[in-house]
Structure formats: C-alpha cells, structure tokens
Amino acid sequence: MRKHSLLSRNQYMLRFYLILSFIIIVFVITPYNVSSQQYPEELQETLTDAFEAVEDAEKKGGDILLLVDELNRIINLLESGSEYEVTEVRSELGELKQAALTSGELGYVDSTSAQLRAGAILVVTVVVAYLIWKYMPILVWQLWMRSRREWIVYPR
C-alpha cells in the first residue's frame, strides 16, 4: 500500500514536470512575430486605423505634420508605461482620425484648385502668346514709325 502511494506521487510529479516542460518549450520555440501586439489589441487596431487615415490625408494633399505629432504623442504615452485610460486614448485616436479626414478633404480641395489655377494660367499664356504672335509685328512697326515721325523722306 505504501509502495503504491509512493508510485502515485512519482507519477504525479512526472506528469507535472512533463506539462511544465511542454509549456516552457512551446513558450521558447514560438518564433516572435513583429506584428504581435505591443498595446491592447483594440488600441493597436485603432492606432493603425488612425495612421491609415493620416496616410490617406497625405495622399489627398492634406497637411499632416500636426497629425503626425499627435500620433507620436499618443504612441509615446502608450509606450511610456504610465497609466492611461483606454477609452480616453481611443477617443483621442478617433478625434485624430476625424481631423485626418478633414485634412484630406481640405488637401483635395487645395490640389483641385491648384490644378484649376494651373489650367487657367496655361490658357491665358496661350491666348497672350497668340495675341503677341498676331499683333506684335504691327505694333512694332507702328512704334517704329511713331519714333521717326519727324523724318523727312526725299526722293533720290
């Protein structure tokens, strides 16, 4: 009876060490994936969503420097290890995303108006060049004649 209980204890210890070893091995050999979450998953997603909004704003021609500063401030807050309210950070990222959308829209309007302005300048250039081409010779000769008004021409 005593021998049986000793065996049971040994078996129990063996099982315990096997499970522990398995957990340690799995933990050690699992390759690190850089995409693993640094922050709570929902915050990481909100953060990358906000970044994508900033990226879109830049593509549309928006000014993103202040948005980038704000994004880095939030990242620093998350990385600093200091306490923060998840809901507050999420709300700040939501505001940042909204600001990025606005910036993108403004950038789009700016780039469209810049294209229209450029088109208008090109049209005016072509018109002015045509008018010069057409009327410049006449104008030159009129000026030439006006500057020599006092000339007297004698027959040979």
């Binding site: 390759p31 690190y32 850089v34 995409s35 640094q38 990358t48 970044f51 994508e52 900033v54 990226e55 830049e58 593509k59 993103i64 420097l65 980038v68 994004l71 880095n72 990242i75 990385e79 810049a114 294209q115 302005r117 450029a118 088109g119 300048i121 090109l122 005016v124 250039t125 072509v126 002015v128 060049a129 010069i132 081409w133 410049m136 010779p137 030159v140 000769w141 030439w144």
Partner: protein, 162 residues
C-alpha cells in the same frame, strides 16, 4: 525683320513664364530613390562608442535614430533582438530570435527621430549579438513588414558572479 525677332522673343518669354508658373505646383514630386534610415548611437550619441562588456542585468543606454526619405508618411517599428553567432540576419528575412525591446514612431517625409533606449540582457555569453531591425506598417497587408534595414552590436555578457 526686327518685328519678327521681337515677336519670337516676346512669345518665348510669355510661354516660358506661363509654364514656369503653372506646371511645378501640379507636378508630382519626383523621388529618385526612396529610403529609410536606421541608426544606433552609443551613450554619447556617437557612432561607435557602444558598450562591449556588460554583466547580466546591467542597464545600458543607446540612442535609436530613424529617418524617413520615402516621400510619404511611414509608421516605423524598430525591434531589438538578442541572438548569437549561430543565427543569420538577412536583408529579406527578419531574425528569428527573442525580442527584448520594441519602439514605434510615425515620421512624415523628411523627418527623423532620435530616441534614447535603456536595455539590459538577461543571459550571459560571449559574442552576444544585439540586432536592430526596422519594420514598416503596410496598409495593404494591415501589418508590419520587415524593411530589410538592420544593424547589430556585438557584446560580451558576463554573469555577476564570474
């Protein structure tokens, strides 16, 4: 003939001024070769004054430098990994090793950031390799992707008793 000379010159000047005014603002910026920068500076913010001999658990300071010349905003993640001589680092595959530190920063085109980091190593060993890898967030994949930029520092780490 003087009228023709004046006409040609005037037309040329008007067309040149018109093109110079109208075209540059609508042309996309030309980037010859986009690139990102990754640098590691020693405790005195200089290249090369890295620690060589450390003991386990001893804290040491380094500075991480990231620069963006990709002509677009980039979300960078710099990861620090510990390895030894047995593993290879390549420009295409990230090192499969333990990560001891990770640092995120978002940089607009032309911006750079230098950040102090305090690290310590938990295992003793000769020729321990501290590898710094740069990863960039890829919106298409929705994940961080290894950029191919990496650096390394060799360290001898001794246990406190030895």
């Amino acid at each position: 003939m003087i009228d023709r000379h004046i006409t040609y010159t005037s037309v040329f000047i008007v067309v040149a001024l018109g093109l110079l005014t109208a075209v540059p603002p609508i042309l996309p910026r030309r980037v010859v070769e986009p690139f990102s920068e990754l640098g590691v500076l020693g405790p005195n913010m200089k290249l090369g004054d890295y620690p060589r001999e450390l003991s386990v658990g001893e804290q040491f300071e380094l500075f991480l430098y990231n620069g963006n010349h990709e002509s677009r905003v980039i979300y960078y993640r710099t990861v620090v990994k510990v390895s030894d001589r047995s593993t290879n680092v390549s420009d295409t595959e990230p090192l499969n090793a333990q990560v001891i530190y990770s640092y995120d920063v978002v940089l607009a085109d032309g911006q750079n950031a230098t950040t102090p980091v305090i690290l310590s190593l938990s295992e003793a060993g000769l020729n321990r390799r501290l590898v710094f890898e740069l990863h960039k967030y890829d919106s298409g994949e929705g994940d961080f992707v290894y950029s191919g930029e990496w650096l390394q520092i060799w360290l001898n780490v001794t246990s406190p008793t030895s």
